[in-house]
Protein backbone atom coordinates (compact mmCIF):
# COMPACT_ATOMS: atom_id res chain seq x y z
CA UNK A 1 0.00 0.00 0.00
CA UNK A 2 2.80 2.36 0.91
CA UNK A 3 4.52 1.37 -2.27
CA UNK A 4 1.37 2.14 -4.22
CA UNK A 5 1.01 5.56 -2.59
CA UNK A 6 4.65 6.34 -3.21
CA UNK A 7 4.25 5.42 -6.86
CA UNK A 8 1.08 7.46 -7.13
CA UNK A 9 2.78 10.56 -5.78
CA UNK A 10 5.88 10.04 -7.91
CA UNK A 11 3.65 9.57 -10.92
CA UNK A 12 1.71 12.74 -10.32
CA UNK A 13 4.81 14.85 -9.79
CA UNK A 14 6.48 13.34 -12.83
CA UNK A 15 3.28 14.12 -14.71
CA UNK A 16 3.44 17.75 -13.68
CA UNK A 17 7.06 17.95 -14.80
CA UNK A 18 6.16 16.54 -18.20
CA UNK A 19 3.25 18.92 -18.25
CA UNK A 20 5.53 21.90 -17.67
CA UNK A 21 7.85 20.72 -20.40
CA UNK A 22 4.90 20.16 -22.72
CA UNK A 23 3.46 23.61 -22.11
CA UNK A 24 6.32 25.37 -23.86
CA UNK A 25 6.02 22.92 -26.69
CA UNK A 26 2.31 23.59 -27.10
CA UNK A 27 3.00 27.35 -27.08
CA UNK A 28 5.10 27.05 -30.19
CA UNK A 29 2.70 24.68 -31.86
CA UNK A 30 -0.28 26.89 -31.12
CA UNK A 31 1.21 29.96 -32.67
CA UNK A 32 3.12 28.55 -35.62
CA UNK A 33 2.14 24.88 -36.14
CA UNK A 34 5.76 23.85 -35.73
CA UNK A 35 6.67 20.61 -33.98
CA UNK A 36 9.76 21.58 -32.07
CA UNK A 37 12.18 18.70 -31.92
CA UNK A 38 14.78 20.83 -30.17
CA UNK A 39 12.59 21.31 -27.12
CA UNK A 40 14.53 18.86 -24.97
CA UNK A 41 17.80 20.59 -25.82
CA UNK A 42 16.42 24.04 -25.06
CA UNK A 43 15.26 22.66 -21.76
CA UNK A 44 18.72 21.25 -21.11
CA UNK A 45 20.36 24.57 -21.98
CA UNK A 46 18.25 26.22 -19.28
CA UNK A 47 19.32 23.64 -16.74
CA UNK A 48 23.00 24.04 -17.62
CA UNK A 49 22.75 27.81 -17.52
CA UNK A 50 21.40 27.62 -13.99
CA UNK A 51 24.13 25.14 -13.06
CA UNK A 52 26.84 27.46 -14.30
CA UNK A 53 25.40 30.47 -12.52
CA UNK A 54 24.98 28.64 -9.23
CA UNK A 55 28.16 26.60 -9.01
CA UNK A 56 30.67 28.45 -11.12
CA UNK A 57 29.56 32.06 -10.66
CA UNK A 58 28.42 31.34 -7.08
CA UNK A 59 25.39 33.62 -7.41
CA UNK A 60 22.62 33.41 -4.83
CA UNK A 61 20.05 30.84 -5.89
CA UNK A 62 17.19 33.24 -6.50
CA UNK A 63 19.31 35.59 -8.62
CA UNK A 64 20.67 32.67 -10.60
CA UNK A 65 17.17 31.35 -11.11
CA UNK A 66 15.83 34.62 -12.43
CA UNK A 67 18.91 35.18 -14.57
CA UNK A 68 18.67 31.77 -16.17
CA UNK A 69 15.00 32.29 -16.91
CA UNK A 70 15.84 35.60 -18.57
CA UNK A 71 18.63 33.86 -20.43
CA UNK A 72 16.25 31.21 -21.70
CA UNK A 73 13.78 33.86 -22.78
CA UNK A 74 16.43 35.70 -24.78
CA UNK A 75 17.68 32.43 -26.22
CA UNK A 76 14.23 31.58 -27.52
CA UNK A 77 14.06 34.99 -29.11
CA UNK A 78 17.44 34.59 -30.78
CA UNK A 79 16.66 31.10 -32.05
CA UNK A 80 13.54 32.38 -33.71
CA UNK A 81 15.35 35.35 -35.20
CA UNK A 82 18.33 33.44 -36.56
CA UNK A 83 16.87 30.16 -37.70
CA UNK A 84 13.10 30.30 -38.01
CA UNK A 85 12.55 33.77 -39.43
CA UNK A 86 14.13 32.91 -42.80
CA UNK A 87 11.78 29.96 -43.14
CA UNK A 88 8.48 31.79 -42.77
CA UNK A 89 6.40 30.69 -45.73
CA UNK A 90 8.34 27.47 -46.44
CA UNK A 91 6.53 24.12 -46.16
CA UNK A 92 6.26 22.81 -42.61
CA UNK A 93 8.39 19.75 -43.20
CA UNK A 94 11.42 21.97 -43.68
CA UNK A 95 10.74 23.87 -40.49
CA UNK A 96 10.33 20.63 -38.55
CA UNK A 97 13.52 19.25 -40.04
CA UNK A 98 15.26 22.47 -39.09
CA UNK A 99 14.34 21.93 -35.45
CA UNK A 100 15.73 18.42 -35.77
CA UNK A 101 18.98 19.95 -36.98
CA UNK A 102 18.92 22.47 -34.16
CA UNK A 103 18.46 19.64 -31.68
CA UNK A 104 21.61 17.92 -32.90
CA UNK A 105 23.48 21.23 -32.88
CA UNK A 106 22.53 22.17 -29.34
CA UNK A 107 23.22 18.71 -28.03
CA UNK A 108 26.69 18.81 -29.55
CA UNK A 109 27.20 22.28 -28.16
CA UNK A 110 26.22 21.27 -24.64
CA UNK A 111 28.52 18.26 -24.78
CA UNK A 112 31.37 20.45 -26.01
CA UNK A 113 30.85 23.05 -23.29
CA UNK A 114 29.92 20.95 -20.29
CA UNK A 115 30.79 17.35 -21.23
CA UNK A 116 28.58 14.33 -20.72
CA UNK A 117 29.02 13.88 -16.98
CA UNK A 118 26.24 13.93 -14.45
CA UNK A 119 26.11 17.08 -12.34
CA UNK A 120 23.96 17.90 -9.36
CA UNK A 121 22.82 21.23 -8.02
CA UNK A 122 23.67 22.14 -4.45
CA UNK A 123 20.75 21.45 -2.17
CA UNK A 124 18.85 24.68 -1.74
CA UNK A 125 15.14 23.98 -1.49
CA UNK A 126 13.93 24.57 2.08
CA UNK A 127 12.85 21.50 4.04
CA UNK A 128 9.48 22.91 5.05
CA UNK A 129 8.30 22.52 1.48
CA UNK A 130 8.17 18.77 1.92
CA UNK A 131 4.80 17.27 2.55
CA UNK A 132 3.81 14.28 4.66
CA UNK A 133 0.84 12.33 3.42
CA UNK A 134 0.16 9.43 5.77
CA UNK A 135 3.07 7.04 5.53
CA UNK A 136 4.87 8.75 2.64
CA UNK A 137 6.70 12.02 2.47
CA UNK A 138 6.77 14.08 -0.67
CA UNK A 139 10.19 15.66 -1.22
CA UNK A 140 10.26 19.46 -1.59
CA UNK A 141 11.15 19.31 -5.27
CA UNK A 142 8.01 17.45 -6.12
CA UNK A 143 5.90 19.91 -4.20
CA UNK A 144 7.61 22.75 -6.03
CA UNK A 145 6.99 21.02 -9.35
CA UNK A 146 3.31 20.61 -8.68
CA UNK A 147 2.87 24.17 -7.46
CA UNK A 148 4.74 25.68 -10.39
CA UNK A 149 2.85 23.40 -12.75
CA UNK A 150 -0.48 24.66 -11.46
CA UNK A 151 0.59 28.28 -11.49
CA UNK A 152 1.80 28.16 -15.06
CA UNK A 153 -1.20 26.19 -16.24
CA UNK A 154 -3.41 28.88 -14.76
CA UNK A 155 -1.40 31.71 -16.23
CA UNK A 156 -1.32 30.23 -19.71
CA UNK A 157 -4.91 29.18 -19.66
CA UNK A 158 -6.00 32.69 -18.80
CA UNK A 159 -3.48 34.20 -21.18
CA UNK A 160 -4.74 32.33 -24.23
CA UNK A 161 -8.39 32.54 -23.34
CA UNK A 162 -8.68 36.16 -22.27
CA UNK A 163 -5.67 38.35 -22.95
CA UNK A 164 -5.47 40.18 -26.24
CA UNK A 165 -1.90 39.03 -26.93
CA UNK A 166 -3.02 35.43 -26.40
CA UNK A 167 -5.90 35.82 -28.82
CA UNK A 168 -3.60 37.40 -31.40
CA UNK A 169 -1.31 34.39 -31.06
CA UNK A 170 -4.17 32.00 -31.67
CA UNK A 171 -5.36 34.05 -34.63
CA UNK A 172 -1.94 33.80 -36.26
CA UNK A 173 -1.99 30.03 -35.88
CA UNK A 174 -5.44 29.95 -37.39
CA UNK A 175 -5.06 32.12 -40.47
CA UNK A 176 -1.83 33.96 -40.94
CA UNK A 177 -2.92 36.15 -43.84
CA UNK A 178 -6.12 37.27 -42.17
CA UNK A 179 -4.23 38.06 -38.99
CA UNK A 180 -1.78 40.12 -41.02
CA UNK A 181 -4.59 42.01 -42.74
CA UNK A 182 -5.89 43.09 -39.34
CA UNK A 183 -2.53 44.40 -38.28
CA UNK A 184 -1.39 41.56 -36.03
CA UNK A 185 2.38 41.71 -35.89
CA UNK A 186 2.97 38.17 -37.08
CA UNK A 187 6.72 38.16 -36.73
CA UNK A 188 6.48 39.53 -33.21
CA UNK A 189 3.99 36.81 -32.32
CA UNK A 190 6.39 34.13 -33.51
CA UNK A 191 9.30 35.64 -31.63
CA UNK A 192 7.27 36.02 -28.48
CA UNK A 193 5.97 32.48 -28.54
CA UNK A 194 9.47 31.07 -28.97
CA UNK A 195 10.75 33.25 -26.17
CA UNK A 196 8.00 32.24 -23.75
CA UNK A 197 8.34 28.60 -24.75
CA UNK A 198 12.07 28.70 -24.07
CA UNK A 199 11.44 30.32 -20.72
CA UNK A 200 9.03 27.59 -19.64
CA UNK A 201 11.37 24.96 -21.02
CA UNK A 202 14.26 26.42 -19.03
CA UNK A 203 12.17 26.35 -15.91
CA UNK A 204 11.21 22.71 -16.35
CA UNK A 205 14.84 21.92 -17.13
CA UNK A 206 15.92 23.37 -13.82
CA UNK A 207 13.31 21.42 -11.86
CA UNK A 208 14.15 18.19 -13.67
CA UNK A 209 17.79 18.88 -12.91
CA UNK A 210 17.04 19.19 -9.23
CA UNK A 211 15.23 15.85 -9.25
CA UNK A 212 17.40 13.62 -11.33
CA UNK A 213 20.64 15.49 -11.88
CA UNK A 214 21.84 17.27 -14.97
CA UNK A 215 22.84 15.14 -17.88
CA UNK A 216 22.26 16.17 -21.45
CA UNK A 217 21.10 12.75 -22.60
CA UNK A 218 18.44 12.40 -19.92
CA UNK A 219 17.24 15.96 -20.27
CA UNK A 220 16.94 15.89 -24.03
CA UNK A 221 15.10 12.57 -23.80
CA UNK A 222 12.38 14.48 -21.97
CA UNK A 223 11.96 16.53 -25.13
CA UNK A 224 10.91 13.36 -26.92
CA UNK A 225 8.69 12.26 -24.05
CA UNK A 226 6.76 15.43 -24.69
CA UNK A 227 5.38 14.01 -27.92
CA UNK A 228 3.16 11.29 -26.46
CA UNK A 229 2.13 13.77 -23.79
CA UNK A 230 0.94 16.46 -26.16
CA UNK A 231 -0.58 14.01 -28.62
CA UNK A 232 -2.57 12.36 -25.88
CA UNK A 233 -3.86 15.72 -24.81
CA UNK A 234 -4.34 16.99 -28.34
CA UNK A 235 -1.58 19.10 -29.84
CA UNK A 236 -3.13 22.48 -29.22
CA UNK A 237 -4.69 22.20 -25.82
CA UNK A 238 -2.68 23.32 -22.81
CA UNK A 239 -5.08 21.81 -20.31
CA UNK A 240 -5.03 18.62 -22.38
CA UNK A 241 -1.25 18.64 -22.23
CA UNK A 242 -1.35 18.58 -18.43
CA UNK A 243 -3.84 15.74 -18.35
CA UNK A 244 -1.87 13.84 -20.98
CA UNK A 245 1.23 14.44 -18.89
CA UNK A 246 -0.42 13.08 -15.75
CA UNK A 247 -1.55 9.97 -17.62
CA UNK A 248 1.92 9.40 -19.02
CA UNK A 249 3.58 10.10 -15.67
CA UNK A 250 1.37 7.63 -13.82
CA UNK A 251 1.68 5.01 -16.56
CA UNK A 252 5.44 5.25 -16.44
CA UNK A 253 5.86 5.02 -12.69
CA UNK A 254 3.37 2.19 -12.32
CA UNK A 255 4.83 0.17 -15.16
CA UNK A 256 8.29 0.81 -13.75
CA UNK A 257 7.16 -0.18 -10.25
CA UNK A 258 4.99 -3.22 -10.95
CA UNK A 259 5.96 -4.66 -14.31
CA UNK A 260 9.47 -3.95 -15.49
CA UNK A 261 11.74 -0.92 -15.51
CA UNK A 262 12.74 -1.66 -19.09
CA UNK A 263 9.18 -1.35 -20.32
CA UNK A 264 8.80 1.98 -18.56
CA UNK A 265 10.05 4.17 -21.39
CA UNK A 266 8.09 2.39 -24.12
CA UNK A 267 4.69 2.24 -22.46
CA UNK A 268 3.77 5.85 -23.31
CA UNK A 269 4.31 5.15 -26.99
CA UNK A 270 2.31 1.92 -27.01
CA UNK A 271 -0.52 3.69 -25.25
CA UNK A 272 -0.18 6.56 -27.72
CA UNK A 273 -0.73 4.32 -30.74
CA UNK A 274 -3.88 2.84 -29.28
CA UNK A 275 -5.33 6.18 -28.28
CA UNK A 276 -4.63 7.62 -31.71
CA UNK A 277 -6.43 4.72 -33.32
CA UNK A 278 -9.53 5.54 -31.31
CA UNK A 279 -9.27 9.33 -31.17
CA UNK A 280 -7.19 10.62 -34.09
CA UNK A 281 -6.89 14.15 -32.70
CA UNK A 282 -5.92 13.09 -29.18
CA UNK A 283 -8.16 13.31 -26.17
CA UNK A 284 -8.71 17.05 -26.21
CA UNK A 285 -7.39 18.23 -29.56
CA UNK A 286 -9.35 20.43 -31.91
CA UNK A 287 -11.06 18.42 -34.59
CA UNK A 288 -9.92 19.90 -37.86
CA UNK A 289 -12.72 21.86 -39.47
CA UNK A 290 -12.39 21.06 -43.14
CA UNK A 291 -14.67 22.98 -45.43
CA UNK A 292 -14.21 22.58 -49.10
Amino acid sequence: MDFFLQLLINGISLGFLYGLAAMGFVMIFKSSRVLNFAHGEILALGAYLFLTLVTWAQLPVIVAFLLSLTGSFIMGFVIERLFLRPLIGEPLIFVIMLTVGLAAMFKGLILLLWGGNLYVYPDFLPGWLSLTLGPVTVPPVYVAAIVIGFVFLGIFGLFFKFSSQGIYMRSVADNQQAAMSLGVHVRRVFALSWAIAALVAGMSGIILGIISGINVHDLSAVGLKVFPVVILGGLDSIGGAIIGALIIGLLETFTGGYISPALRDVVPYICLIFILLVKPYGLFGLVEIERV
Binding site: F83, G101, K107, L109, L112
Partner: protein, 359 residues
Protein backbone atom coordinates in the same frame (compact mmCIF):
# COMPACT_ATOMS: atom_id res chain seq x y z
CA UNK B 1 -1.63 36.40 -92.84
CA UNK B 2 -4.91 35.06 -94.09
CA UNK B 3 -7.95 33.95 -92.19
CA UNK B 4 -8.13 31.19 -89.60
CA UNK B 5 -8.42 28.47 -92.22
CA UNK B 6 -4.83 28.93 -93.29
CA UNK B 7 -3.40 28.89 -89.79
CA UNK B 8 -0.40 26.67 -89.47
CA UNK B 9 0.34 24.84 -86.28
CA UNK B 10 3.94 24.45 -85.44
CA UNK B 11 4.79 21.68 -83.01
CA UNK B 12 6.92 22.73 -80.14
CA UNK B 13 7.74 20.90 -76.97
CA UNK B 14 8.32 17.21 -76.39
CA UNK B 15 6.12 14.99 -78.48
CA UNK B 16 6.21 11.25 -78.42
CA UNK B 17 5.42 9.43 -81.62
CA UNK B 18 5.80 5.86 -80.46
CA UNK B 19 4.96 4.14 -77.21
CA UNK B 20 8.55 3.03 -76.72
CA UNK B 21 9.61 6.64 -76.63
CA UNK B 22 7.23 7.41 -73.85
CA UNK B 23 8.32 4.36 -71.92
CA UNK B 24 12.01 5.11 -72.08
CA UNK B 25 13.69 6.50 -69.00
CA UNK B 26 16.47 8.31 -70.80
CA UNK B 27 15.03 10.24 -73.67
CA UNK B 28 18.18 11.04 -75.55
CA UNK B 29 21.03 8.95 -76.87
CA UNK B 30 23.37 11.14 -74.91
CA UNK B 31 21.58 10.21 -71.69
CA UNK B 32 21.77 6.53 -72.52
CA UNK B 33 25.43 6.86 -73.41
CA UNK B 34 26.11 8.50 -70.06
CA UNK B 35 24.30 5.66 -68.32
CA UNK B 36 26.31 2.97 -70.11
CA UNK B 37 29.58 4.81 -69.52
CA UNK B 38 28.71 5.39 -65.89
CA UNK B 39 27.86 1.77 -65.28
CA UNK B 40 31.00 0.57 -67.08
CA UNK B 41 33.19 2.81 -64.99
CA UNK B 42 31.34 1.83 -61.84
CA UNK B 43 31.57 -1.92 -62.34
CA UNK B 44 34.63 -2.29 -64.55
CA UNK B 45 37.10 0.22 -63.16
CA UNK B 46 36.16 1.53 -59.73
CA UNK B 47 36.48 -1.71 -57.74
CA UNK B 48 39.97 -2.38 -59.14
CA UNK B 49 41.58 0.98 -58.59
CA UNK B 50 40.25 2.06 -55.21
CA UNK B 51 41.68 1.20 -51.86
CA UNK B 52 39.88 -1.00 -49.39
CA UNK B 53 38.90 1.94 -47.21
CA UNK B 54 37.22 3.79 -50.06
CA UNK B 55 35.54 0.62 -51.23
CA UNK B 56 34.13 0.28 -47.75
CA UNK B 57 32.70 3.81 -47.91
CA UNK B 58 31.28 3.18 -51.37
CA UNK B 59 29.51 0.06 -50.16
CA UNK B 60 28.04 1.95 -47.22
CA UNK B 61 26.87 4.66 -49.61
CA UNK B 62 25.11 2.11 -51.80
CA UNK B 63 23.37 0.52 -48.85
CA UNK B 64 22.22 3.83 -47.35
CA UNK B 65 21.09 4.98 -50.79
CA UNK B 66 18.73 2.02 -51.05
CA UNK B 67 17.18 2.83 -47.68
CA UNK B 68 16.98 6.53 -48.50
CA UNK B 69 15.23 5.73 -51.78
CA UNK B 70 12.59 3.90 -49.81
CA UNK B 71 12.11 6.78 -47.42
CA UNK B 72 11.82 9.22 -50.30
CA UNK B 73 8.99 7.15 -51.77
CA UNK B 74 7.11 7.49 -48.49
CA UNK B 75 8.00 11.05 -47.53
CA UNK B 76 8.88 12.76 -50.78
CA UNK B 77 6.30 11.15 -53.04
CA UNK B 78 3.46 10.15 -50.74
CA UNK B 79 3.89 12.98 -48.26
CA UNK B 80 3.75 10.85 -45.10
CA UNK B 81 6.51 12.11 -42.82
CA UNK B 82 7.99 9.10 -41.06
CA UNK B 83 10.36 9.01 -38.12
CA UNK B 84 10.67 5.24 -37.96
CA UNK B 85 12.86 4.45 -40.93
CA UNK B 86 15.92 3.65 -38.82
CA UNK B 87 13.93 1.07 -36.89
CA UNK B 88 12.69 -0.52 -40.11
CA UNK B 89 16.29 -0.71 -41.28
CA UNK B 90 17.02 -2.54 -38.02
CA UNK B 91 14.13 -4.94 -38.53
CA UNK B 92 15.59 -5.87 -41.91
CA UNK B 93 19.05 -6.39 -40.42
CA UNK B 94 17.71 -8.58 -37.64
CA UNK B 95 15.47 -10.61 -39.91
CA UNK B 96 18.43 -11.39 -42.14
CA UNK B 97 20.55 -12.27 -39.13
CA UNK B 98 17.94 -14.56 -37.61
CA UNK B 99 17.13 -16.21 -40.94
CA UNK B 100 20.77 -16.96 -41.69
CA UNK B 101 21.76 -18.20 -38.26
CA UNK B 102 18.68 -20.04 -37.02
CA UNK B 103 17.31 -21.31 -40.29
CA UNK B 104 20.53 -21.45 -42.35
CA UNK B 105 18.78 -19.49 -45.02
CA UNK B 106 20.99 -18.69 -48.02
CA UNK B 107 22.02 -15.11 -48.68
CA UNK B 108 20.09 -14.77 -51.91
CA UNK B 109 16.82 -15.68 -50.20
CA UNK B 110 17.47 -13.93 -46.90
CA UNK B 111 17.74 -10.51 -48.58
CA UNK B 112 14.28 -10.31 -50.16
CA UNK B 113 12.79 -12.22 -47.23
CA UNK B 114 14.10 -9.56 -44.87
CA UNK B 115 12.56 -6.94 -47.14
CA UNK B 116 9.19 -8.70 -47.08
CA UNK B 117 9.15 -9.13 -43.31
CA UNK B 118 9.99 -5.45 -42.88
CA UNK B 119 7.28 -4.53 -45.36
CA UNK B 120 4.79 -6.40 -43.17
CA UNK B 121 6.02 -4.57 -40.09
CA UNK B 122 5.79 -1.33 -42.05
CA UNK B 123 2.18 -2.05 -42.96
CA UNK B 124 1.53 -2.68 -39.28
CA UNK B 125 2.85 0.74 -38.31
CA UNK B 126 1.22 2.30 -41.34
CA UNK B 127 -2.21 1.25 -40.10
CA UNK B 128 -2.72 4.42 -38.05
CA UNK B 129 -2.38 6.38 -41.30
CA UNK B 130 -5.95 5.32 -42.06
CA UNK B 131 -7.19 7.79 -39.52
CA UNK B 132 -4.23 10.04 -38.84
CA UNK B 133 -3.00 12.89 -40.90
CA UNK B 134 0.08 15.04 -41.02
CA UNK B 135 1.79 15.67 -37.73
CA UNK B 136 -0.24 13.13 -35.79
CA UNK B 137 0.94 10.43 -38.14
CA UNK B 138 4.54 11.59 -37.75
CA UNK B 139 4.26 11.12 -34.03
CA UNK B 140 2.71 7.68 -34.53
CA UNK B 141 5.76 6.65 -36.55
CA UNK B 142 7.94 8.07 -33.77
CA UNK B 143 6.11 5.74 -31.41
CA UNK B 144 6.79 2.93 -33.88
CA UNK B 145 10.49 3.73 -33.73
CA UNK B 146 10.59 3.41 -29.95
CA UNK B 147 8.45 0.29 -29.85
CA UNK B 148 10.59 -1.51 -32.42
CA UNK B 149 13.74 -0.46 -30.60
CA UNK B 150 12.33 -1.89 -27.40
CA UNK B 151 11.31 -5.15 -29.06
CA UNK B 152 14.74 -5.57 -30.62
CA UNK B 153 16.42 -5.17 -27.24
CA UNK B 154 14.07 -7.22 -25.11
CA UNK B 155 12.95 -10.11 -27.33
CA UNK B 156 16.00 -12.02 -26.19
CA UNK B 157 15.04 -15.48 -27.40
CA UNK B 158 15.21 -14.28 -31.00
CA UNK B 159 17.41 -11.19 -31.12
CA UNK B 160 19.88 -12.22 -28.37
CA UNK B 161 19.24 -8.82 -26.78
CA UNK B 162 22.24 -6.59 -26.37
CA UNK B 163 24.76 -9.36 -27.12
CA UNK B 164 24.02 -9.20 -30.82
CA UNK B 165 24.24 -11.79 -33.54
CA UNK B 166 27.16 -12.88 -35.72
CA UNK B 167 26.21 -13.66 -39.31
CA UNK B 168 27.82 -16.23 -41.58
CA UNK B 169 29.75 -15.00 -44.62
CA UNK B 170 27.41 -14.51 -47.53
CA UNK B 171 27.63 -16.83 -50.52
CA UNK B 172 25.85 -16.92 -53.82
CA UNK B 173 25.72 -20.32 -55.57
CA UNK B 174 28.80 -21.46 -53.74
CA UNK B 175 30.81 -18.33 -54.53
CA UNK B 176 31.96 -16.69 -51.34
CA UNK B 177 31.31 -12.95 -51.17
CA UNK B 178 33.99 -12.41 -48.59
CA UNK B 179 35.89 -9.17 -49.07
CA UNK B 180 35.04 -5.63 -50.04
CA UNK B 181 35.33 -6.04 -53.80
CA UNK B 182 32.84 -8.89 -54.00
CA UNK B 183 30.48 -7.06 -51.73
CA UNK B 184 30.87 -3.92 -53.81
CA UNK B 185 29.33 -5.81 -56.73
CA UNK B 186 26.51 -7.17 -54.62
CA UNK B 187 25.58 -3.80 -53.16
CA UNK B 188 25.83 -1.80 -56.37
CA UNK B 189 23.92 -4.33 -58.44
CA UNK B 190 21.24 -4.13 -55.76
CA UNK B 191 21.29 -0.36 -55.87
CA UNK B 192 20.93 -0.25 -59.66
CA UNK B 193 18.07 -2.75 -59.57
CA UNK B 194 16.31 -1.00 -56.72
CA UNK B 195 16.68 2.41 -58.38
CA UNK B 196 15.28 0.96 -61.59
CA UNK B 197 12.31 -0.41 -59.68
CA UNK B 198 11.77 2.88 -57.86
CA UNK B 199 11.87 4.92 -61.07
CA UNK B 200 9.36 2.58 -62.61
CA UNK B 201 7.02 2.49 -59.62
CA UNK B 202 6.77 6.23 -59.85
CA UNK B 203 5.75 5.97 -63.52
CA UNK B 204 2.89 3.55 -62.90
CA UNK B 205 -0.56 4.26 -61.58
CA UNK B 206 0.71 3.47 -58.10
CA UNK B 207 3.29 6.22 -58.30
CA UNK B 208 0.78 8.70 -59.64
CA UNK B 209 -1.62 7.78 -56.84
CA UNK B 210 1.16 8.43 -54.30
CA UNK B 211 1.82 11.87 -55.70
CA UNK B 212 -1.90 12.62 -55.82
CA UNK B 213 -2.23 11.74 -52.15
CA UNK B 214 0.73 13.95 -51.30
CA UNK B 215 -0.64 16.94 -53.16
CA UNK B 216 -4.24 16.76 -52.00
CA UNK B 217 -5.51 13.67 -50.30
CA UNK B 218 -9.14 14.71 -50.29
CA UNK B 219 -9.11 15.46 -54.01
CA UNK B 220 -7.38 12.14 -54.60
CA UNK B 221 -10.09 10.38 -52.68
CA UNK B 222 -12.68 12.22 -54.74
CA UNK B 223 -11.04 10.98 -57.91
CA UNK B 224 -11.59 7.42 -56.76
CA UNK B 225 -8.16 6.61 -55.38
CA UNK B 226 -8.52 4.43 -52.29
CA UNK B 227 -6.11 6.48 -50.23
CA UNK B 228 -5.83 4.15 -47.28
CA UNK B 229 -4.76 1.25 -49.48
CA UNK B 230 -2.22 3.37 -51.29
CA UNK B 231 -0.83 4.82 -48.09
CA UNK B 232 -0.33 1.31 -46.76
CA UNK B 233 1.27 0.31 -50.05
CA UNK B 234 3.61 3.25 -49.77
CA UNK B 235 4.54 2.22 -46.23
CA UNK B 236 5.10 -1.33 -47.47
CA UNK B 237 7.32 -0.32 -50.40
CA UNK B 238 9.27 2.09 -48.27
CA UNK B 239 9.91 -0.43 -45.53
CA UNK B 240 10.76 -3.12 -48.08
CA UNK B 241 13.59 -0.88 -49.24
CA UNK B 242 14.64 -0.24 -45.65
CA UNK B 243 14.55 -3.93 -44.80
CA UNK B 244 16.48 -4.93 -47.91
CA UNK B 245 19.13 -2.34 -47.15
CA UNK B 246 19.23 -3.41 -43.52
CA UNK B 247 19.84 -7.02 -44.54
CA UNK B 248 22.66 -5.99 -46.90
CA UNK B 249 24.16 -3.96 -44.09
CA UNK B 250 23.91 -6.81 -41.59
CA UNK B 251 25.77 -9.21 -43.87
CA UNK B 252 28.42 -6.61 -44.56
CA UNK B 253 28.96 -5.79 -40.88
CA UNK B 254 29.07 -9.51 -40.01
CA UNK B 255 28.04 -8.89 -36.41
CA UNK B 256 25.15 -6.66 -35.41
CA UNK B 257 23.78 -5.29 -32.17
CA UNK B 258 20.70 -3.23 -31.45
CA UNK B 259 22.71 -0.09 -30.93
CA UNK B 260 22.71 1.66 -34.33
CA UNK B 261 18.98 1.55 -35.01
CA UNK B 262 17.99 4.53 -32.92
CA UNK B 263 15.97 7.63 -33.56
CA UNK B 264 19.22 9.30 -34.61
CA UNK B 265 19.42 6.92 -37.58
CA UNK B 266 15.85 7.76 -38.58
CA UNK B 267 16.72 11.43 -38.37
CA UNK B 268 19.82 10.84 -40.49
CA UNK B 269 17.70 9.25 -43.19
CA UNK B 270 15.28 12.15 -43.12
CA UNK B 271 18.20 14.54 -43.35
CA UNK B 272 19.47 12.62 -46.38
CA UNK B 273 16.31 12.98 -48.38
CA UNK B 274 15.82 16.60 -47.41
CA UNK B 275 19.39 17.53 -48.23
CA UNK B 276 19.22 15.43 -51.38
CA UNK B 277 15.86 16.74 -52.48
CA UNK B 278 12.39 15.59 -51.49
CA UNK B 279 10.54 13.69 -54.14
CA UNK B 280 13.56 13.13 -56.32
CA UNK B 281 15.10 9.75 -56.98
CA UNK B 282 18.62 10.94 -57.72
CA UNK B 283 18.13 13.23 -54.73
CA UNK B 284 17.94 10.28 -52.37
CA UNK B 285 21.23 8.96 -53.71
CA UNK B 286 22.89 12.38 -53.52
CA UNK B 287 21.68 12.81 -49.97
CA UNK B 288 22.86 9.37 -48.88
CA UNK B 289 26.27 10.06 -50.42
CA UNK B 290 26.48 13.47 -48.81
CA UNK B 291 25.59 12.34 -45.28
CA UNK B 292 27.83 9.27 -45.41
CA UNK B 293 30.76 11.38 -46.61
CA UNK B 294 29.98 14.03 -44.01
CA UNK B 295 30.07 11.44 -41.25
CA UNK B 296 33.39 10.09 -42.49
CA UNK B 297 34.96 13.50 -42.94
CA UNK B 298 33.85 14.62 -39.50
CA UNK B 299 35.32 11.44 -38.06
CA UNK B 300 38.66 12.03 -39.74
CA UNK B 301 38.77 15.70 -38.79
CA UNK B 302 38.02 15.08 -35.14
CA UNK B 303 40.63 12.36 -35.04
CA UNK B 304 43.20 14.68 -36.57
CA UNK B 305 42.37 17.40 -34.09
CA UNK B 306 42.90 15.01 -31.25
CA UNK B 307 46.15 13.60 -32.63
CA UNK B 308 47.79 16.97 -33.25
CA UNK B 309 47.37 17.75 -29.59
CA UNK B 310 45.94 21.06 -30.67
CA UNK B 311 43.33 20.83 -27.99
CA UNK B 312 45.29 19.00 -25.36
CA UNK B 313 43.93 19.13 -21.87
CA UNK B 314 40.48 19.88 -23.15
CA UNK B 315 38.24 16.94 -22.67
CA UNK B 316 37.19 16.59 -26.26
CA UNK B 317 35.49 13.54 -27.55
CA UNK B 318 34.56 12.94 -31.11
CA UNK B 319 30.81 12.55 -30.77
CA UNK B 320 29.74 16.07 -29.74
CA UNK B 321 31.66 17.87 -32.45
CA UNK B 322 30.27 15.50 -35.01
CA UNK B 323 26.75 15.98 -33.76
CA UNK B 324 27.18 19.73 -33.77
CA UNK B 325 28.50 19.83 -37.31
CA UNK B 326 25.81 17.43 -38.48
CA UNK B 327 23.09 19.62 -37.03
CA UNK B 328 24.67 22.75 -38.44
CA UNK B 329 24.82 21.24 -41.93
CA UNK B 330 21.14 20.37 -41.87
CA UNK B 331 20.23 23.82 -40.60
CA UNK B 332 22.32 25.63 -43.21
CA UNK B 333 21.01 23.44 -46.00
CA UNK B 334 17.40 24.06 -45.09
CA UNK B 335 17.91 27.79 -44.77
CA UNK B 336 19.88 28.25 -47.97
CA UNK B 337 18.80 25.52 -50.37
CA UNK B 338 15.63 23.85 -49.17
CA UNK B 339 15.13 22.04 -52.44
CA UNK B 340 18.32 20.16 -51.88
CA UNK B 341 21.23 18.81 -53.85
CA UNK B 342 19.00 17.58 -56.66
CA UNK B 343 18.13 21.21 -57.39
CA UNK B 344 21.79 22.27 -57.28
CA UNK B 345 22.60 19.42 -59.66
CA UNK B 346 19.89 20.57 -62.05
CA UNK B 347 21.20 24.14 -61.98
CA UNK B 348 24.73 22.91 -62.52
CA UNK B 349 23.69 20.74 -65.45
CA UNK B 350 21.84 23.52 -67.18
CA UNK B 351 24.76 25.85 -66.59
CA UNK B 352 27.11 23.43 -68.26
CA UNK B 353 24.73 22.85 -71.12
CA UNK B 354 24.14 26.51 -71.79
CA UNK B 355 27.66 27.70 -71.11
CA UNK B 356 28.78 30.43 -71.72
CA UNK B 357 25.29 31.97 -71.63
CA UNK B 358 23.34 32.19 -68.43
CA UNK B 359 20.05 31.11 -70.02
Amino acid sequence: MKGPASLKFRLCGNFFERYEQELSIFETDFGRLCLVLGLTVLFGIVPFVTEAYFLYILVIIAITSIAALGLNILVGFTGQLSLGHGAFFGVGAYTAAVLSTELQCPFIIALPAAGLVTALVGIGFGLPSGRLKGLYLTIATLAGQFIIEYVLVSWESVTKGTRGIVLPFPEIFGISLDGDRAYFYVSYISLVVMTYIAVNIMRTRYGRAFVAIRDNDRAAEGMGIPIFGYKLLSFAVSSFYAGFAGALWAYYMVSITTEPFTLMLSVEYLAMIIIGGLGSIPGAIFGATFITMLNEILRIVTQMLMNTGFLEGVELTMAPLREFAFGLTIVLFIIFEPRGLAELWRILKSNVRLWPFSY
